[in-house]
């Protein structure tokens, strides 16, 4: 359970008798400590041993999807509290699902049929209403015209021609009337215009079409969807036209309904249709009730079935990864597991064998391998989020030193250096405590993207908040207000009137303020120069110590992997180089702080390079400084070629020796697994390309030398961000809160307070903390981890049922 090195892993071969295979895998899935290797990668999915079972599972999950869809349509949500009786197994479930599906489909098809006739009847009713209206209105208008004609008739009777014409008309009229047929029906509204157009074209305008809009939605009998429709009536003459119109109606999906122009018949039809509609309605309602009952019962068990099915599916996927032995009696599994879990796995397999009443026990066998094992850290709820920060950069190489251990402290600390304000810290702490206290509740809920991120990092945020309270106390900032928490300020006015406090300055009257920055500094003219100098120097000290830590970790790595070349020709010159330049700077800073000297450190550092032999003059901090500087400079100069040259040549020599020894003796001594491993890795590169190795080393050296300067400069972001934070918060305090306070108006004050709160939360708490977070992240990923971290491993990904629940399998 050591977080610095990843768990020792081993490649294990399991030989499982076929009858207990399924149960063994299932138990291993419950245990969740075994990563299976796919031994059947070359086989296509349907050639695998358990392809038919996977297919069955797929079929069942299809049925479940169908149920889910139907439940969604019927507004029934699957109950979350599922009764886990666990007695149901896959075969029973399959039968049950098939039964339920058949029942559901039957009910649905019955309902559909009923609904179809119901919709048709409704449409018919609409046609009867609308067309009836049309006919009656037409009759009324015809009657009035008739009357008008009758009124007119006597007057025209006198003329000679008219009666003849009238007579002709009356004789011709009935003949035509017999031929004039009509078709009634409904057509969807979007199609009504093209429908009319096509009718017109097809019959050359020899039809009379009348449409009436149906105000509300109509359920289309064929598709069952809600659509807007128009009722139409077409008058035509001739059989050919009729067949044409019928064809066109078919083409447009217009439903035709018979209609009679006889009023009494109309009435009869109307009553009949209405009766049937009522009858059908009750039948449909009963059917729907039956269906929703069925869906309800499905809903009770749905989650349980779904879970079971997903488990089974994943088990079969794993089984498909196993190698079936030639005898077909047992399955061969290979995979990684942590060494500590060996006995657990053995016990689990034993239990599976017992539960299956199997004759043969499963065999666990540890294999020797040259492969790089996966990286596995046993993290807990607190450390996992920190480990995730590291994993986001790269998964650690197997058993490489894990920066995650140090990140737990250094990350929140560097964040807090940039976010130093104990007022803001308390706000953050309260927010994150809310998440931590309600942890259990939040686990079950589905959170939004942003909230999920905050919840996932709640322990990081808690640490960050605690540390920013600490640094805030050091900076003596509480929403940019200083407090005299640890006793009185050390400074006082020269005289009781305090006239010249802002011009000449204060004098020290008491002992130094015991903890952090003296509150009297706040608001003075020299506040910024003082804080800048403090924070800048502090950033350099922090940076140099963190980089040193990184280099030291590279030593532990080299020692752990027994790589002497890396110790002597990488670690040693690196640490000498860094410390002879920036370690010396840190030393100077500390000495200057302790002695209170006035020396100019820029000058010292610059002239250390430009003219190391010159006299330091007033900038001398301690005796023998010049000699020390010359020695350090020489050391730094020596360490650069030291870093660059020996390593590639030594590697070449090593390679040649190994090659020679290989040609003499093929037998390898493998007593230390780790050593054999490192050899194994080298063995893979049979070709030793010297130029490549040398160029690589050259790049590495240049990167380190330049990086030493640029990384140290990069740590100055600690100062910059902390400055920005304190200035911003003082701006909000002075220019919003104090300004509005000055107006002596309650409304202005309330507005001011609201603006202040919004600015504090939005800008300082959210945006500033995000930016400080990102900068802290960068300092870790780039400045700290590039000193030692390889990060080219891969993560241990065990087969486990707990990860199944998170993802939605459907």
């Amino acid at each position: 359970m050591d977080l610095l090195r990843s768990e020792p892993m081993q490649l294990v071969q399991l030989i499982i008798p076929i009858e207990s295979a399924q149960r063994s895998i299932s138990y291993l899935g419950d245990l969740g400590l075994f990563q299976f290797k796919d031994l059947n990668e070359d086989k296509s999915p349907f050639q695998q041993t358990y392809a038919s079972q996977v297919k069955r599972c797929g079929e069942m999950s299809r049925k479940l999807r169908l149920f889910k869809e139907q439940m969604k349509k019927a507004n029934i949500s699957p109950s979350t509290w599922s009764t886990r009786d666990g007695s149901i197994d896959l075969e029973k479930l399959e039968v049950k699902l098939a039964e339920l599906e058949a029942e559901l489909i039957e009910i649905n098809s019955n309902n559909e049929k009923l609904q179809h006739t119901y919709n048709e009847l409704i449409e018919y009713k609409l046609v009867l209403e609308k067309v009836g209206e049309f006919f009656s209105s037409a009759q009324i208008s015809a009657a009035t015209r008739q009357r008008e004609l009758e009124v007119q008739q006597p007057s025209v009777e006198g003329s000679i021609d008219c009666p003849l014409l009238m007579e002709q008309e009356t004789t011709a009229y009935p003949v035509k009337q017999i031929k004039l047929g009509f078709i009634t029906g409904l057509v969807t509204r979007e199609k009504s215009i093209p429908f009319e157009r096509i009718l017109f074209r097809a019959t050359r305008g020899n039809v009379f079409l009348k449409q009436a809009v149906v105000e509300h939605h109509v359920l289309d009998p064929l598709s069952g969807e809600k659509v807007h429709k128009n009722v139409f009536i077409i008058f035509y003459s001739g059989e050919r036209v009729k067949s044409k119109i019928n064809k066109i109606c078919d083409a447009f999906g217009a439903n035709r309904y018979p209609f009679s122009d006889d009023l009494s018949k109309q009435f009869e039809m109307m009553t009949e249709v209405s009766e049937r509609v009522v009858e059908l309605k009750t039948t449909i309602d009963v059917g729907l009730l039956h269906r929703s009952n069925l869906l309800q019962t499905i809903g009770y068990k749905f989650e349980q079935w779904n879970l079971l099915l997903q488990k089974e599916k994943s088990i079969y996927h794993i089984l498909n990864m196993l190698n079936i032995n030639v005898t077909k009696k047992c399955l061969l599994a290979e995979g990684w597991c942590p060494v500590f879990a060996t006995s657990q796995i053995q016990k689990t397999l034993m239990r599976a064998t017992m539960d299956c009443n199997s004759q043969v026990e499963a065999i666990v066998q540890v294999l020797q391998t040259n492969e790089l094992p996966p990286t596995y850290f046993c993290t807990n709820i607190f450390t996992s989020s920190f480990q995730e920060i590291i994993d986001a950069y790269g998964i650690a190489k197997y058993q490489e030193a894990n920066p995650g251990v140090y990140t737990i402290i250094t990350f929140p600390f560097l964040f807090a250096v940039m976010f130093g304000d104990w007022g803001h810290g308390i706000c953050l702490l309260l927010a994150t405590l809310y998440f931590i206290i309600n942890e259990k509740k939040f686990y079950c809920q589905k959170l939004g993207d942003i909230l999920e991120m905050v919840f996932g990092g709640r322990y990081i945020i808690m640490m960050m908040a605690l540390f920013s309270i600490y640094t805030g106390l050091i900076y003596n900032e509480f929403f940019s207000i200083p407090f005299e928490l640890f006793g009185q300020s050390a400074y006082g006015c020269r005289d009781p009137t305090c006239r010249d406090a802002t011009t000449i300055g204060l004098v020290k009257v008491r002992d130094t303020y015991p903890f952090g920055v003296d509150p009297k500094w706040h608001g003075t003219r020299s506040e910024l120069p003082f804080l800048n100098s403090l924070k800048m120097k502090m950033s350099i000290l922090l940076g140099v110590s963190q980089m040193n830590l990184g280099i030291i970790l590279s030593y532990y790595n080299a020692k752990y992997f027994e790589n002497n070349i890396n110790i002597w020709h990488q670690f040693v010159p690196q640490i000498i180089f860094l410390n002879s330049l920036f370690g010396y700077l840190s030393l100077l800073i500390i000495v200057k702080w302790c002695t209170g000297s006035q020396a100019d450190l820029y000058h010292v550092m610059i002239y250390m390079f430009l003219s190391p032999t010159d006299d330091l003059g007033e900038n001398q901090l301690f005796v023998g400084q010049k000699l020390l500087q010359v020695i350090l400079l020489l050391l730094a100069l020596v360490s650069v070629p030291w870093m660059l040259l020996p390593k590639p040549f030594l590697l070449k020599k090593q390679h040649q020796e190994r090659h020679k020894s290989q040609s003499y003796s093929l037998i390898y001594n493998v007593d230390d697994p780790l050593e054999s491993k490192s050899h194994g890795i080298h063995k893979n590169h049979q070709e030793f390309d010297f130029s490549e190795v040398f160029v690589h080393q050259l790049i590495h050296t240049i990167e380190f030398v330049l990086g030493a300067v640029s990384n140290t400069a990069s740590y100055l972001r600690l100062w910059a961000l902390s400055l920005a934070h304190s200035e911003l918060s003082s701006v909000f305090y002075d220019k919003v809160l104090l300004l509005t306070w000055g107006y002596n108006n309650i409304i202005v004050l309330i507005v001011g307070i609201i603006v202040f709160i919004c600015a504090t939360v939005g800008v300082l708490l959210v945006m500033e903390s995000l930016s400080a977070f990102l900068h802290a992240l960068r300092l870790h990923w780039v400045e700290f981890q590039n000193k030692f971290y390889e990060g080219d491993g891969y993560k241990f990904n065990p087969f486990s049922f707990t990860s199944l629940n998170d993802e939605d399998g459907l």
Binding site: R65, P194, I198, A202, A251
Partner: protein
């Protein structure tokens, strides 16, 4: 101006080009086809396809599958892709995309008209139509009795209308005249599409003219082969060839007088790009010609993806997907009818 599309192409076309290239990487590979060819049942095929982009379309199909279901669902995927792209497209890409479907429209019109001629049910015919070539009043085609009616009633509203004037005759429809109509329409369509692409200019014009020229030449060869031994006169045959492509104009003269397949072959072998097609075929073999053409077409369409900033990728993608669906149909038919030995006869590997 040619060569400067790179500066402005991505303003409107960048997103869709990315989409279409993503779709292209979802096409089945040779490895997929090899696996599919080993399938024993249609369920195996479904299982294999579930790992591809067709997965979501097939996963809710109940188990006794039919070839038609597979093909239908796969086509649905193509149609969805197409509709998505069409929705996102701006001019002139949207017009370009619409042009791609006109070929299907012509096929659908011909299908319905022939179907009604043979007194098939309209609904049944509609199901057989390619969904990309559907238009509103397509079902009304059944009403028409002759070409003039066909045009006046229905097609005047469709984008095919401008292609029609050449084939309006008032004679009644029969198989021959429908076939001639199809080819006349296709000729007009290809020429129009060709002109449109030339108007777009740049890499689109260059690549599309190559692809369309191949299409036109293939049609010319097919027309020639199919019209050998029919009452179609040489002049009529000549009229059906599109007025561009490698064969235009001299090859057309020669094709017009061909009397058997070997003469066609002699004509084609004069054109270097088509020599390779015949390299694999022995004399007198016309069955394999289709496959050879398809293979050549697929090769050309794949090459269209090698260049960026042009519209031909959309055309190529649609054609490749259609070829893939044809392949799937063939494989599933072979599997369903237990003719697995013939699987490789007509499958054209895309990659």
């Amino acid at each position: 101006m040619y060569g400067f599309e790179a500066m402005t192409f991505n303003i409107h076309g960048g997103y869709l080009e990315a989409i279409v290239r993503g779709h292209r990487s979802g096409l089945l590979t040779t490895a997929d086809y090899n696996n599919l060819c080993q399938c024993e049942t249609l369920d195996d095929i479904k299982m294999h396809l579930s790992a591809t982009e067709y997965g979501p379309y097939l996963q809710n199909e109940p188990s006794p599958l039919h070839t038609t279901t597979i093909v239908e669902k796969c086509t649905l995927k193509l149609v969805d892709d197409y509709k998505h792209m069409l929705c996102q497209a701006t001019e002139p890409l949207s017009t370009f995309l619409e042009y791609i479907t006109y070929g299907h429209m012509i096929d659908n019109v011909v299908l319905i008209v022939t179907g009604t001629l043979h007194e098939r049910d309209v609904q049944e015919l509609l199901e057989k139509c390619h969904p990309l070539g559907m238009f509103d009043s397509i079902a009304t085609l059944a009403v028409a009795q002759n070409m003039r009616e066909l045009y006046r009633l229905v097609l005047v509203d469709t984008p095919l209308a401008p292609y029609f004037p050449e084939c309006i005759t008032s004679e009644d429809l029969d198989d021959m005249s429908i076939e001639i109509m199809r080819n006349t329409l296709y000729k007009a369509y290809l020429e129009d599409f060709y002109r449109f692409c030339q108007k777009l200019g740049g890499a689109t014009a260059e690549i599309m003219s190559d692809l369309l020229a191949f299409e036109a030449d293939r049609r010319a060869v097919n027309i020639t082969i199919n019209s050998i031994g029919t009452e179609l006169t040489r002049d009529d045959r000549r009229k059906l060839y599109s007025n561009f492509g490698l064969f235009y104009p001299y090859g057309h003269e020669e094709l017009a007088v061909c009397e058997d397949i070997d003469q066609v072959r002699a004509v084609m072998e004069k054109y270097p790009p088509y020599q390779s097609i015949f390299a694999k075929l022995s004399y007198g073999e016309s069955q394999m010609l289709d496959k050879a053409f398809y293979e050549e077409e697929v090769k050309r369409h794949c090459l269209a993806f090698e260049q960026q900033f042009h519209y031909a990728v959309f055309f190529a993608y649609m054609r490749l997907r259609e070829q893939e669906i044809r392949n799937l149909m063939w494989i599933s038919e072979c599997v369903a009818q237990n003719q697995k030995s013939r699987v490789h006869d007509s499958v054209v590997f895309i990659f």
